[in-house]
Symmetry: none
Subunit: 222 residues, 2 copies
């Protein structure tokens, strides 16, 4: 469930890449140019970027430079039409981790994405420990000393997200983007309902809590 950002000015290509990545269980975000990419990165915890070199406004090189300049270290897989040494060199000098040439072989892209993630040691199995409570991402269970509570997917992801960044406030839209997908049309109030159900289920546990931040959203605290 890694969040991957696809940056390309061609929407069709973005969607194509999205299809292949989603099929592998990745969650994707889109950006049509460097500026949009920066905005998405600002709001979400992107773990890998698939980046087209040729874009209007701010090209891939420029974006890479800006990102590396501010110390942003996620793996970048660059998509380029040019397969020349100077181009490769330019990319790697700027801090690109891997590249793939057009026309894109989708199987290869997926392979490289996985390899990059593995190399970056972004773990695929995630267990979140809060005191003596464990949120097990694989089984969607909250394991406590006394019992194991199995949660519905949405509820679990919501809880996991909130507790992964304790005290960080998420707007309802943030949560929808992350858990439902950036293009969801689900109503913001739906988040409230899931929060309510989570609170009900864990009302007897004081190890953690979901706090409403009026006018802004929710945050997890523990």
């Amino acid at each position: 469930m890694n969040d991957i950002l696809i940056v390309d000015d061609n929407e069709d290509i973005r969607k194509l890449i999205e299809i292949y990545l989603k099929r592998e269980g990745f969650n994707t975000f889109h950006a049509g140019n460097g500026q949009e990419a920066l905005e998405v990165i600002d709001k979400h915890r992107i773990e890998l970027i698939v980046l087209d070199v040729m874009m209007p406004v701010m090209d891939g090189y420029e974006l890479t430079r800006e990102l590396r300049e501010v110390g942003f270290i996620v793996p970048i897989l660059m998509v380029t039409a040019k397969d020349t040494y100077p181009d490769k060199k330019k990319g790697f000098d700027l801090g690109i981790d891997d590249y793939i040439t057009k026309p894109i072989d989708m199987e290869e892209l997926v392979l490289r994405v996985k390899a990059l993630l593995r190399r970056a040691r972004i773990s695929q199995d995630k267990k979140l420990v809060i005191g003596d409570i464990i949120l097990d991402y694989d089984s969607l269970e909250v394991i406590t000393p006394s019992q194991e509570i199995s949660l519905p997917r949405k509820e679990f992801f919501l809880l996991y997200k909130l507790m992964s960044y304790p005290k960080k406030i998420f707007t309802r839209q943030d949560l929808l983007d992350d858990i439902w997908g950036y293009d969801t049309e689900v109503d913001e109030r739906t988040v409230d309902v899931h929060i309510k159900r989570l609170r009900e289920k864990f009302k007897d546990f004081d190890e953690f809590e979901i706090v409403t931040v009026r006018g802004l959203g929710y945050k997890g605290v523990y």
Copy 2:
């Protein structure tokens, strides 16, 4: 929808710049000289200034100096015909953030505007530290060594504003313009009520204080 002020004595150039900025979703204001610029700035919350150096009445350098002198910190992108080192140096010394030379490459101008805004937002420290008390703009909380006090939006913004410019006196209208919006129709007395509630909440803290300046307004001191 950032508000950008374009200052240039040539109306055609202003309009040209406006076209490109509007296309990117920015809102623009015009001024034909430094004096007009000051009037616009006084009335609107300008977030960036595109400023031509060569102008009659009050040139770009002069305007920059005046603005920086009174503590006005929005990014300034200077447009200059001269590309010499002394000129650049003069500009940067006065507090210009970036510059672009004539003839203006519009794409580049848009790029630089966006970069400046982003940089300003990122570098804009949203936490205000007063001794061992922190005003956290993101969570609308006042964090003290002993507790975290969550404030309603209006109250927080009010406190934040006052404490951002300690000892500066704000009239009620100033505060309404800033926090409620320049076109609000809310009564001035409403400010009093929020001030009262803030004082009540922080009566036990002597790190800072909201002081009434009779006949004028309020100021924050610490």
